[in-house]
């Protein structure tokens, strides 16, 4: 089968539809996912295809929704929870962190929680501080949760299908600005393995590790850099937990320079973990220049477009960062 060009949002919907057709235990629950079609239109026509039982509209009740998904998963269902904005997971944190993440370990390994929690993440929509956060580091810090950040339509489908298959709770953070972006996506059900990083672009001079929306931004930056004679490798870890450091380490060994790009605030962000792993591992001895992080400012996301843009890394920040890094030895 050939790839079609479809949107990130369509790719997610296709994955859910295929999973629901293949397995009657798969169902979706969330706020306004039924006739409304989802706050970002992701569930779309699924309600009409599968009905109200399996595309289950819920009250505004995040803790209840996630708790119900945990309970259903414990007895063998495969729920896909949609939380309308990833910020609202704060309302459901007990069920995510204290229940879903720990049940398999804490209860001795007999039970597990094959639940998928999808949530739109990130800024760029003018929705301000309570609807724009990038909270991946919160989840990645909790043992027992798998965390994936698809950065393109193909991975959005492949990672979601892998997450649905996974017998553990998987948090899928989708970027709002990516929903309408398009890319080639195979029609069949394929899985993008969880825990394997993606080499997006190869270049000999430096490595850019980026997540979420920052992946495409870093590729665009790499194209500009190429015009200046700087060839950048771009790596998308795709999965934050478990984290694949092999590719990152190898790429650093080959170039000696690395930039870590994330939208989330810098302080205690996920890239701090990657920087620490670099420092702990073999890549440290290949470094020709200090590790450089290009991250969001340590502030809540502001409303005004010029402020919002200033708060998170833009294309030119990545280009400038790379040029600066190349000027180091």
């Amino acid at each position: 089968m050939t790839d079609r060009i479809i949107t990130y949002s369509e790719a997610i919907r296709e994955a859910i539809g295929q999973a629901m057709e293949a397995d009657p235990n798969v169902f979706m629950l969330g706020e306004d996912i039924g006739i409304y079609g989802g706050a970002f239109g992701v569930s779309g026509d699924l309600y009409h295809r599968f009905g109200a039982e399996r595309i289950r509209d819920t009250p505004i009740s995040e803790l209840g929704i996630v708790g119900a998904a945990v309970g259903a998963a414990l007895v063998g269902m495969k729920p896909i929870v949609e939380i309308q904005f990833s910020d609202f997971t704060a309302q459901a944190m007990d069920q995510i962190v204290n229940q879903a993440a720990k049940i398999h370990f804490m209860l001795g390994g007999e039970l597990s929680v094959p639940m998928v929690l999808r949530a739109p993440s990130g800024s760029g929509t003018g929705a301000a501080a309570q609807h724009s956060q990038s909270l991946e580091a919160w989840f990645a810090h909790v043992p027992g949760l798998k965390v994936v950040l698809p950065s393109n339509a193909r991975d959005a489908k492949g990672l979601l299908l892998a997450a649905i298959d996974d017998p553990n709770p998987v948090i899928v953070l989708e970027h709002k600005l990516l929903y309408k972006t398009s890319g080639p996506v195979p029609e069949q059900m394929y899985r993008t393995p969880i825990g394997v990083a993606d080499l997006v672009r190869e270049g000999k001079d430096l490595v850019i590790v980026a997540t979420g929306i920052m992946v495409s931004r870093s590729v665009a930056a790499a194209q500009q850099l190429a015009a200046q004679g700087i060839e950048a490798t771009v790596i998308d870890p795709r999965t934050l937990s478990p984290l694949d450091m092999t590719l990152i380490n190898d790429a650093i060994a080959a170039t000696g320079r690395v930039i870590l790009v994330q939208e989330a605030p810098k302080h205690v962000g996920f890239m701090a973990e990657i920087a620490a792993r670099i420092a702990e591992g073999p890549a440290l001895f290949s470094l020709l220049a200090p590790v450089k992080r290009i991250c969001g400012m340590d502030i809540p996301i502001p409303y005004a477009p010029q402020l919002e843009k200033a708060a998170v890394p833009q294309l030119e920040d990545i280009v400038a960062g790379a040029v600066e890094l190349m000027r180091e030895p």
Partner: protein, 336 residues
């Protein structure tokens, strides 16, 4: 393996008029008491680590409710969950092994007292988070409904849990979706030290059912037959598609909240008053005076339970300690 004789839901509709059912209920209450007294003793002597929450005095609610359940019905439990676990049929040896930090424990030493689950008896787990199990019960009930199963889910929780947001969200979801779940509030008057008088304005916790448009009932939680009968009605309602019930069992814990409780918030008189309402003694008197069982039958049962507890301790103590070597590989379930 040490477990109670399975509880029975008698055709007579009352535990007090069916001998086998009465003896099973008594055995369950005695086993819970005995297990927890042993745990208390082991802790007092420094032979048990960590903390645990004892339900001595509350044995009737766990027993009466579980007597109304089928084997395939589910429960979710609480930090004060030994009683629920035992009444649902768990292996006392594996429970004791867990508390003694053994590899053979229900959680292989990773969970301890507050996290025992038992897939075999369909106990979805105790919970260290107040109200943590209530939404989970709703979800398990949703799964039953979606699959067309007739199993019911019982969620046990305390009075304190009803002040949590999770209680509200779970009861609302269960109500709007008519889920086959029974919410059993064991009101033992205190959320740790905070009494229900201080923590809520409603007179009865079951009044809160009104807010969700579901049935609510309060029973004497120290009367095992009253608990059973009310639970049987609620379970039948749930099983037949009539939706959830909030069943409040008024009871009392004799011991402190946990092992660090110094009972500063309640009086000795109050504790004594409730000890006089001991659910075990009450039930024994009723079934003895009605002639349903004899004194010697009760004594035989007490001896059996005592030996069961001692066997559980002996067997659990002899087991290997839980193994740190497998810790890292236990966080995620391997994909099939």
């Amino acid at each position: 393996m040490v477990a109670i004789t399975p509880l029975r839901s008698p055709e007579s509709g009352s535990l007090q008029t069916d001998k086998a059912a009465a003896l099973a209920a008594l055995e369950s209450m005695l086993a819970i008491r005995s297990f927890e007294e042993a745990v208390d003793g082991l802790f007092a002597r420094g032979l048990m680590h960590g903390t645990m929450h004892l339900s001595i005095g509350q044995e009737a609610s766990a027993t009466g409710v579980c007597a109304a359940l089928k084997e395939t019905d589910y429960i979710t439990s609480t930090h004060r969950g030994h009683g629920h676990c035992i009444a649902k049929g768990a292996d006392l040896t594996r429970m004791m092994a867990e508390l003694l930090a053994k590899q053979t424990g229900y959680c292989r030493g990773r969970g301890g007292s507050m996290h025992i689950a038992d897939t075999k008896t369909r106990n979805l787990g105790a919970n260290g988070i107040v109200a943590g199990g209530i939404p989970i019960a709703a979800g398990a009930a949703l799964a039953q409904k979606m699959r067309g199963e007739t199993n019911v889910v019982v969620s046990f929780f305390g009075d304190g849990a009803t002040n949590e947001g999770a209680f509200h969200e779970a009861l609302n979801l269960a109500a709007i979706w008519d889920l086959p779940v029974v919410f059993v509030c064991e009101n033992n008057k205190y959320g740790m030290s905070n009494s229900t008088e201080l923590s809520m304005r409603v007179e009865k916790i079951s009044d809160r059912a009104l807010a969700y448009g579901i049935a609510g009932e309060t029973v004497d939680g120290n009367d095992v037959d009253a608990v059973y009968q009310a639970a049987a009605v609620a379970v039948a309602r749930a099983r037949s598609g009539g939706g959830p019930t909030l069943l409040e069992c008024e009871t009392y814990r004799w011991k402190g909240h946990s092992k660090s409780d110094k009972n500063l918030y309640r009086t000795k008189e109050e504790i004594d008053e409730w000890k006089a309402k001991d659910p075990i003694e009450r039930f024994q008197e009723i079934i003895l005076s009605s002639g349903l069982v004899t004194q010697s039958e009760i004594e035989t049962l007490i001896a059996k339970v005592r030996e069961g507890t001692r066997d559980a301790i002996k067997e659990a103590s002899a087991a290997p300690d839980s193994d740190p070597a497998e810790l890292l590989s236990s966080v995620f379930r391997e994909a099939n």
